[in-house]
């Protein structure tokens, strides 16, 4: 087919462009993902003990997860549209992770020398980084399907942002049942779990986001 004929075909009856926005669907999927992760966590384990509601650990975990979720949702919102700049959103994400690493390091330094390792490992060091990516999987798939309906042009980073968002939501749900109360534990193992989710997104992006 020659290009002039193609253009004539596209233009005739084209009508006005209907603008599309990702925000509402993104919020819906994020909310559903958060509820799903909480429900699965509560199905498998007990709610955190009453005492933790007044401690710092639970709220640190939730604040960390929600800050990452908000910044990665913003990032994905940029990456779903051609030509929009995602760099400012990425800067916020890096700042959130670095702040958490900073708080975590300080908390480890405050622990007496002989107890540092048990403090960091806690009881669930090997559960948390696997549970978060697993929990995040359904949310990640929904987010990738949603993003694909728009026009992502950088599939790897868009996948990464989707994974980061799904992982943060999974971490928030998981935190409600996680008894670990060491900030150093959160900084290390939660971050690792969330980054694994983001890595899954980055791997899946170039395949699943093509349009």
């Amino acid at each position: 087919m020659n290009t002039d004929a193609l253009i004539a075909g596209l233009a005739s009856g084209a009508g006005p462009a209907r603008r599309v926005f990702i925000g509402r669907d993104l919020a819906l999927i994020a909310g559903a993902g958060m509820i799903f992760c909480t429900a699965v966590s509560l199905g498998l384990r007990e709610f955190v003990p009453q005492a933790m509601w007044t401690g710092a650990a639970l709220w640190t975990k939730l604040a960390y997860a929600m800050a990452l979720a908000a910044s990665s949702a913003w990032c994905l919102n940029m990456l779903a549209f051609p030509g929009k700049r995602a760099a400012p959103a990425f800067r916020i994400i890096v700042m959130v992770v670095l702040s958490m690493a900073d708080i975590g390091t300080v908390s480890v330094l405050n622990v007496p020398a002989g107890e540092k390792l048990p403090y960091i490992l806690g009881k669930f060091a090997l559960t948390c980084p696997w549970a978060i990516p697993l929990l995040s999987l359904p949310t990640l798939i929904s987010l990738l399907r949603l993003t694909r309906r728009f026009a992502p042009t950088d599939l790897r980073w868009a996948g990464f942002a989707a994974g980061l968002l799904a992982g943060s939501l999974a971490a928030a749900g998981y935190a409600l049942t996680c008894e670990e109360d060491a900030i150093g534990f959160v900084a290390l193992w939660y971050s690792l779990g969330i980054i694994l989710s983001a890595g899954m997104g980055a791997l899946a992006g170039p395949r699943l986001l093509r349009w």
Partner: protein, 185 residues
Amino acid sequence: MDKVDRFAAALRPLWVRAQSGDEAAYAQALHLIAGRLRSYFRRRLSSLSDETEDLVQETLLALHAKRGTHDPALPVSNWVFAIAGYKLVDFWRRHGRREALHQPLDVTDDDLLVYETGVDVAAGQDIRVLLDTLPAPQRRAIVLTRLEGLSMSEASRRSGVSVSALKVQVHRGLKQLMVMVRTPQ
């Protein structure tokens, strides 16, 4: 103003009208974009020039299907180039896979087909035999540019064929030769 700026400035007013439903402006905008895309892709696909027009059309279809994703706050040229860049990378990825099975013609063949008298007479004769099986225009194009080593424009002047037609003839001829070399006789 350079080429990209001129393109952006010409496109902007047309695009505003097109997005609000003016079909004539939309057709005009797409023509403008098609022209710009043609040179954008041609520069990046020099060895595969036949594919340029396919890619232009594919990108126009993508722009049309996704025109609701353009935010009026963003220059439309940025939006167009972001999608064109994506389509180009996607094209390379698809081709990378397919082409990996073939072996790129333009890299190996330059070494294979350089004609030096006395160096390897047998190879020279083999090439002549193979060349004789090609259609005359392709054979002439390859002899002039690859064996005699003329530049495209010199070869074009010598043979009276346009540069772009010569390129196509060389490309097709080499492809044909590769097929024959690969097929066990």
